[in-house]
């Protein structure tokens, strides 16, 4: 029987542990600043540029999280993106992945939120793996590599996303057969 309730100590430890990674990166920055100050400043500016590029998608992800908390109940998420969501769940997670913009880490807080509300591992992995397909960039890809390459590349990416999702589901949930 599992213990009921939350243990405050591990939660606090987890909170502190989260800062270890950024603290480690800052230590690396400080260390290399003494070796190559100019390049370290360049690296810091590059980080600023990444943050600037992320601003809009980050805001969009945050707005979606507010909407999620406002209108979407765990039962909704479970029905549309749960492991029994069927083909509509696959379509929804694929389309959401295709339409999502910006770097993938922008979407991680959103994905963590819908996972807590009942989204399945399969659909989360499918969302992340479908992001290589971008219809708005298709003309550009055709311009660079030709329509034949663009078409095959896109179709194989979509199929590959489902396979990755199935593998991740199988590994994350060994008791069940992958969908």
């Amino acid at each position: 029987m599992k213990t009921i309730g939350h243990d405050a100590k591990p939660a606090a430890n987890r909170k502190h542990r989260q800062w270890l990674f950024p603290a480690g990166v800052i230590v690396v920055y400080l260390t290399i600043y003494f070796v190559a100050p100019d390049r370290t400043v360049n690296a810091l500016m590059a980080s600023g540029n990444v943050l600037k590029q992320m601003a809009l998608p980050l805001l969009l992800a945050f707005a979606m999280m507010v909407v999620l908390n406002l209108f979407i109940t765990p039962a909704h998420v479970s029905r549309f993106l749960g492991s029994r969501a069927g083909i509509k769940g696959i379509l929804l997670s694929s389309v959401a992945g295709i339409l999502s913009m910006g770097p993938v880490y922008t979407w991680l807080p959103f994905l963590a939120a819908i996972r807590k509300k009942g989204a399945s591992v399969f659909h989360l992995a499918n969302f992340l793996s479908s992001r290589a397909v971008k219809p708005v960039l298709l003309p550009l890809m055709i311009g660079y590599f030709g329509w034949r390459f663009a078409l095959i590349f896109t179709v194989l990416n979509m199929a590959g996303a489902l396979l990755v999702a199935a593998v991740v589901t199988y590994i994350s949930d060994g008791r069940r057969k992958s969908r």
Binding site: M1, Q18, F21, P22, G24, V25, V28, Y29, I32, R39, A43, M45, A46, S47, G48, F62, M65, V66, N69, L70, T73, P74, A75, S78, G82, S83, R84, G102, P103, V104, Y105, L108, P109, A112, R115, S120, V121, A125, L128, S129, A132, L137, L140, M141, Y144, F145, G146, F149, L156, N157, G160, L163, V164, V167, V168, I171, S172, D173, G174, R175
Partner: protein, 264 residues
Amino acid sequence: MKIAIPATAPDLGAVVENRLGAAPYLLVINTEDMSFEAVAGPSPSIGPGAGIEAISIVTDMGAKAIIAGFVSPHIALTLEKNGIAVITPVGGSVMDAVEKYRRGVLPGMTGGPQQPEVLIDSHAEPQLQTAFRKAARQFFSIFPVLAGVILLVGLFRGFISRDLLLTIFSGKVIQDTLWGACIGSVLSGNPVNSYVVAETLLKMGVSLFGAAALMVSWVNVGLLQLPAEISALGTRFAVSRTIAAFLMAIVVSILTVFLTGGRV
């Protein structure tokens, strides 16, 4: 009426489990004729979503009441708003629990089986402020690692130039495919940038295998973001997804080149 009970085994002699999400079996019992269906409970590896998954399963099967050792108060409230009665804490055998339910003597019951009832209260819609605060809390729970990833990406871009990376390609198919996948996994970012880099590689004489592998892994893998993904979705998910995406990038690039006849 159908009631759902998490149980240790798929029969009425089993013991009522404490939590829906951790139960090996979920029983949905018709209290009129005591017929029942048993399904395997969700895997605990699903994590925090296991309870929700279990609720979804039993409500899909028509359960109008859930009897368990414990149900989280906020989930119980949501269920009750949707007309599903929640009765806790209940222990002992499933058969006893059903009998007590029929007699209306389970905790919180007042002399008769609890009928589902859609409650309408003033808190049915969460307030905007609460939703906003909750989103901010969810968002900032991952913020430290996200900040670390952004700094790491900047560090990489500041110290490793694109030209330096391009020099490692040899023109050999297997080697170039692997290098393309490795570089795409580390650099990552907007897909449009991968098209530019891939085209540059092709012009430099790198095989199409390498260029295609870079394009696939560029968006799908993301080694630098791995700490953030672990923090948000768990180690097993993040590591298995990253490895699977890397291998898939190689397979997809090879298939793409073969199917296009190696020409662009």
